[in-house]
Symmetry: D2
């Protein structure tokens, strides 16, 4: 997890600025002999693209990936897999007014302090567009996991302060997730949430939410104590997503208020408070975790901001932004989980 390189055995480097020529990733350490096509990647990228609804930005690019290397006659070679996506719909001029302003809630000020220079157009490298590369790499990782019978599913578990149906609830409907633009596991809840999102859009404001993730088919024994614990890696992976502000595994923060006799998962408790990980190693139960995402910091409402000369100025952000990025983050959470788990699977070879 150095800079822009993620993973130990299944290593991914991503590159690209939001308004530069291209985004892309290189995967090093992917096993040889895996069937892989450009469609595998296209399918996942499509899940990350903006929708045509209230929650979504109107920036819309084809995001057609090129598979530049590492695959020969339909199979991975064991060599680096490079995937490239050109940026085609970057209205860079929209951002000229932001050249000398540090947008509240964005990386702008810290980035300037870190590097002494930044590409102000659409947040440059700190843009959510970078997650496109993660989703592309995750598509490859998912192929490895599929071969081991591991499936990852994430969904919007809360949005704009509204909690959504939870696994076990009668109205939790996993099939609904990919059938509504907010990726909510229940059509009725989704319809209600969309109304709220529309109201927030009308107000020029934005919303946050949580993404929950369920990983099934995980064998016991994944994870590498003491610092390479599976939950430690997942936490590092999830908090590396731009707007993430927290993560909890299994019962999470609620577990902190339980007694041990209540929290322990025993042969007779039927619980999975641990979220499938104990002592940093998978225990064979499903892995469950939830990630909190803050509301999109770019809002249409006027705000105060600092400019690069230290003055407080009025700021109205007029670019194209998601009212709530949570639904689009769902495939990103899945992708990052896939990267971590593919790495753990490779490390666990005997």
């Amino acid at each position: 997890m150095a800079g822009n390189i993620f993973g130990e055995l299944f290593r991914v480097v991503t590159f690209g600025e939001s308004h530069g020529l291209a985004m892309g990733c290189v995967i090093d350490g992917c096993p040889a002999g895996l069937e892989l096509s450009v469609e595998d990647i296209t399918l996942e990228l499509r899940r990350r693209r903006p929708g045509t609804h209230a929650a979504s930005t109107s920036r819309s690019e084809a995001d057609t990936p090129e598979l530049l290397s590492g695959v020969f006659e339909g199979k991975t070679l064991g060599t680096p897999i490079a995937i490239l996506v050109r940026n085609t719909d970057s209205h860079s001029a929209d951002y000229e007014s932001l050249r000398n302003v540090y947008r509240p809630g964005h990386a702008d000020f810290g980035w300037q302090a870190r590097f002494g220079i930044r590409d102000h157009r659409g947040g440059g490298r700190s843009s959510g567009r970078e997650t496109l590369c993660r989703v592309a790499a995750g598509a490859v990782a998912k192929k490895i996991l599929a071969a081991h019978g591991i499936q990852i599913q994430a969904w919007t578990s809360a949005i704009a302060g509204m909690a959504m149906p939870r696994p076990g609830d009668p109205d939790f409907d996993a099939d609904a997730i990919e059938q509504n633009p907010l990726r909510i596991p229940g059509q009725a809840a989704a319809a209600l949430a969309m109304q709220t999102i529309e109201t927030i859009r009308a107000e020029g404001d934005s919303a946050g939410g949580t993404v929950s993730c369920l990983v099934q088919g995980v064998p016991a024994g994944l994870g590498d104590p003491v610092f390479g614990k599976l939950d430690a890696r997942l936490a590092g992976a999830m908090l590396s997503i731009g707007a993430a502000k927290g993560i909890e595994f299994g019962a999470g923060f609620a577990a902190a208020a339980l007694r041990g006799s209540k929290n322990n998962d025993t042969p007779e408790s039927g619980t999975n408070n641990a979220g499938g990980i104990l002592g940093g190693i998978s225990n064979g139960q499903a892995i469950t975790f939830t990630v909190a995402f803050k509301p999109t910091p770019s809002i249409a409402k006027p705000q105060k901001a600092l400019n690069t000369t230290g003055e407080t100025v009025d700021l109205c952000i007029t670019g194209r932004h998601d009212i709530c990025i949570v639904p689009r983050v769902v495939p990103v959470v899945e992708a990052m989980a896939a990267l971590v788990l593919a790495d753990a699977v490779l490390q666990n070879r005997k």
Copy 2:
């Protein structure tokens, strides 16, 4: 963060099983010329030792560190710093009955699946005793941070389901933290909490809680996007502590329910909802985060457990255990934060 090695430039490897000969760590990458004495380490280790109160285990060892290398005439050499602590109070025989049982809530089962072998005595390497090494290494990291004006303070912010005074509350008393055994920032709250802990002990049960951490004096510009984000690293570090089940930064999970106009920290909001980190880079405000710890899984109450032949058996755990590890985890949280920040400081050299 591979296996038992943590960090990129300030690298720490820890070793030792709870009932083996010794615990220790080696620090590679510590800058040369830093004043360092064995007392610096002893002081921090003493903070981690069990107390003589209800919440604490009765295992008690001197935990006297030896500084084996890397220091010459009182100053660091830039060479690896090895610190060794002998195990002296390990009642290994107490654990013989656990040789063939997988304790609920513990790493036992996953560890067996991962390695095909385990040291069952006190959890072996998965014991909380391993955190001793982190505290020793953290003592060195804190010396680096002190030279940069960075201070870390953690405390018990919730215990056994009871919330404690928060910064800004009239009864929040930072000076009280190290003056009560539960490390609660307020003597009245601490007294009340101790009563609850005593009740839980009497019931043969255990409690969890949360640790909050405040890092002051952090310059803007620490952190290494996109995967080496400062919060990503802190999250990975904190979730690598055995009983941690979640982490949140700044407003955390609550931020997910806010509108953007409310969550953004602006020149006039006076807030720090971001917890001092935006886009993975410190922004010059204090860094704040909270970590959730589950209740101690070892409880005196009878439980059901699986044994190594797959049968469900009755289990009464009779060893020495903390009723609540949260107060003792406070210096561990500080230590891990110190490791992450020392690394970030070194990476930010121009």
Copy 3:
């Protein structure tokens, strides 16, 4: 130095197969604020391109690099720098006859054993074409070094068994190096060597040689003991070039036969037998080393070879190959030295 990723702070990942769609590299960890243009890279790539003379392959591609990310308004952003070069002159059909043959002296057999699959066209990833990516990355590294006053120059110091003028010899002419196709430091020696190469070509055979490298302007104090020694890293870097079979620093193998009193560089000896590195750390003298390269294994002469079913077959290699790759390796040696030194410079920041 994991797989296809090189370096610790200045990290380079390369990708691409010889007859795939493209070659490229991503540089992570390049400092921000460095002036960098596509011309900087083009210039170095041009030095690596095949010549139009006897020693050279007739494969000829424009090798026009695209600078896809990491640079904004002419300066590096501190974000990953991706460089892409399309493959345009790959006569893949020429290689169909090699699909089931393991060419002597090539990676074919080991690669098959390692990965169970290989791209047989032009050696796939094991082709010398991969070094293009190193040269591109080296061009960036050289910009960092230039800012620190460090210059790297390599040349052909032996070819086809003929020793060339050495620094200090009256006929050593550094200016001649880039003025003759064999990169020999002396025009007369170059003319003679070219005759030999032409004879070897006529015989359907190939030649090897050595590349020597001189690094000037290196401050004392670069290198990171004990495993990150500067010479250890340079050795690892150089031996990662396909045809390299050995390396020596300073007096090298000859030093092994000297007495200590003769080999030690003292204030009065005027020698640099150490080659500028002692105990793995630069000592302020020029760094000197020589790398041995074997003759090109692809020869027109008939040879015996194993095929994939284990039979011995007759092999005549008819593709386009360099009779001697040594002159073209000169910029590759420089590039790899630049990667190592840029990394060391970054690690040595105080």
Copy 4:
């Protein structure tokens, strides 16, 4: 290969200064379930200890290792293995006169430039005594290799300018290697060489030499292109040994003068000019390489040296030193080869 940490999956960190309290290593990533005893380590350490003959230092320590962690009931746990050896015969006072002198041929000056501080006693961390830790770690790596049928043998192949019998020579006697103090593969050659060494000692001078290494039983397919090539890693490993000045694989520098038709190993050539590695991957033949070591820089003869204030002074080194370290380096070369190969074996798991 960062600083004092070596390896990717089989990771070794070493610590200790020559005249500090102790030397040691921690091995992270050793597979679980391997039989390992302290005797396994003691045996290898004994091979590295000084002899009682002309070539050797008179410093003599028991070098009794303690196995502090990672082993339970005779088997490795998959947790870090810590090995500790106390320093017991350090005549530190002997070195007081060297506090302000930079010894020629030593790391002193560069170390001071790198760190601004150094432990002058016996070279501190730059002492050859550090290799003790490598030999201890190598003993563990050899256990892994033995389980895979891989054997490593090294020997003194040249000393003080005298070439020794080579494999295939009628007087090459592998059994003799461990039966004479110079580790020469032939008793007659060894006797002759010892006379030369005695003469050099009498003259107050020192000698260098080469160590050759033969690795048998290596399966095809080890190595990780393009930067993790097996020969690249071995070269990095060997050049990280203090006095190493060069390495060559197979025919090495001589190969650079051959024609391709002569150098290629074909089904009918019966040669192993490649030294068992092609394209960075083992090809199933024995791995062969030779490392050049310079003469011991510490000599009794008077020399000129710089002191820390920049003056040239007369220097007579009176401490205890090996006249020629080559025989004692033989187990170190084996150990480093074992570290590299154990890593490669682990990486090659399917």
